[in-house]
Symmetry: C2
């Protein structure tokens, strides 16, 4: 300890912390000594142990990091979160979520890393091994877009309501044959049309809710097409399958904008005009410049606010309070990719 330098032990602490009664002259002396000894300031580890706080918020991505980051939704929420946490002196530790089914279900970091609070970015069913682990470790947790649970703080959006509104928008346009392209059902990540049996095994809450929104509006999709991830290429694959078969739907509702843009690309590829031949709608309200000249019809969710809401939940948990579940509003945003149903 650099205290040997100037004079004392605990006084040095006062000198650095700034608070507490200390003569200016003494502080100066201590700081000068620290400089000359190339002492870089208090060791964070000591402080953390004493305080019982690490200042770290573990963010468990719902997926391999690579895929998670390719999803602008995660990225923008994460950015909003980091912006809220920064001023609180909290840092974001990335914890990989469930990998491929071959890997262990829980990343070793989740078992051993120091974190004051955890944020689970996706999924999170009741018996989720991730939540299981966090519960065992006693780490307060914020669950984003997951299955509501008593001991876990929740932040989400009104995706069910938004999806219903979007569906009614298409009904108003006269569409009757409506297909839907969904997010993954579970960690298994299969893809293709999902029959009733498969649909009854739908595990991930977010997928289920968005699907329920379509049903709420009174629509039974001609096809429920499951994808292994929310990426443009998965949407394109789904689009090719849906739009090249017989009984082509007149509208395709996608559970994310990336999937929807993939469907638009597939339609272009097949020589179909959007929206004259087929309407396509997404979810998230991303600003996809490269889809020009099309502007996706979508349900916009407030991404930065979502990050901020998560941040607020985190700080509530740090103060020992369990925050109220947050459900942020969404807004239908009509673009150029939906239009009247072809006759």
């Amino acid at each position: 300890m650099a205290a040997a330098a100037g004079v004392s032990v605990s006084t040095a602490s006062l000198a650095f912390s700034g608070s507490g009664p200390i003569a200016d002259a003494t502080r100066e002396r201590v700081l000068a000594a620290a400089r000359s000894l190339a002492y870089a300031g208090p060791n964070p580890l000591g402080r953390q142990l004493r305080r019982g706080r690490s200042g770290i918020v573990g963010v468990i991505m719902g997926d391999a990091l690579r895929r998670a980051f390719r999803d602008p939704v995660s990225s923008q929420v994460l950015d909003g979160l980091a912006a809220t946490l920064g001023p609180l002196g909290l840092g974001v530790l990335l914890v990989p979520g469930p990998h491929d089914a071959s890997q262990p279900a829980v990343d070793p970091l989740l078992e051993s890393a120091a974190m004051d609070v955890a944020v689970q970015m996706w999924g999170g069913t009741t018996d989720d091994p991730v939540l299981e682990t966090l519960r065992r470790r006693g780490t307060p947790t914020v669950l984003v877009e997951g299955t509501p649970q008593p001991d876990v703080a929740a932040v989400g959006i009104d995706d069910r309501g938004g999806m219903a509104e979007l569906t009614r928008h298409l009904l108003d346009l006269g569409h009757t044959r409506i297909a839907t392209v969904t997010l993954p059902f579970d960690r298994g990540r299969s893809s293709g049309p999902a029959d009733a049996a498969r649909q009854s095994h739908l595990v991930w809450e977010i997928t289920r809710r968005r699907l329920a929104g379509v049903t709420d509006a009174g629509v039974t999709p001609t096809t429920v097409y499951e994808t292994p991830a929310s990426l443009v290429e998965n949407g394109a694959a789904a689009g090719r399958a849906l739009l090249s078969g017989p009984d082509r739907p007149t509208a395709v509702i996608c559970q994310s904008d990336l999937l929807a843009s993939g469907v638009v690309l597939a339609a272009r590829e097949l020589g179909l005009r959007v929206p004259q031949d087929v309407s396509v709608a997404g979810f998230d309200g991303l600003d996809l410049a490269w889809l020009a000249p099309d502007v996706l019809t979508s349900v916009a969710q407030p991404l930065a606010e979502k990050g901020a809401a998560i941040g607020a939940a985190v700080s509530a948990l740090l103060e020992g309070r369990m925050p109220e579940p947050q459900v942020l509003p969404v807004a239908l945003r009509a673009g150029t990719t939906t239009g009247p149903a072809p006759r």
Copy 2:
């Protein structure tokens, strides 16, 4: 401490660490007691203090997180890095880089967070305030794509050579009027054509090197167009400016694929055919499905390997070794967006 439960103090440690001489019966007894007391295992903070290691690698994004994540290059490198670090028991702590010029140059986390090693993902000139801070704190650092410095480990790619090769490819196709769209020059983030005076103030190494590659091939760009960030919309803006003026270039070399795809979109928008009317080339070798049917001509860099190389450098630093500077190879990948110069 849960040691009061079963029997002893230090024995409990042995029971959990698994190593060391301990009777199976005793271990069982301790673990059982831990379970019944809902003790969640050793507190990481204590372990970290004792070990003098936090197990945390701070990754300083060269930009606001939002922008950083919208860049697939950063994301994929980060993913490769996390994959390498995971098995070593190391976690990635996100540290926001320089924000807008209005914000403080250095994030508070950089000053106070516990990290064993830091990775600076971008930029990093000699007098970079980030490196300055890390140096003062004595944190070993890996600099990615930055200005070489004696006390900092370096990982980079041969972007200068790759750019030269790409430029020669265009020369072989008969192009003479070649413009170039660059990454930002500095934190200032201005945009527009950069004259000689402006070019002499180019601060960021990566931009400088890629520009130098063009010159190496013997080409003086008709215009050097500076952008504020490597995003599609910035490329589109640059493309509109370059392609709608008089003396339109016959080829545009972009310092990133996202910029290049923006230029392609701008060309489409202006009714120009790619590559018949104008050739466009990028850098990074991303897989941009949504640009279909075009496939971008680009210089591919090994993103996952780059992440792995950074991980290797990190673990070398943790062992007290200063790793050799790594320069990963790149490869020209011809797509459909470049072709013979129009006559």
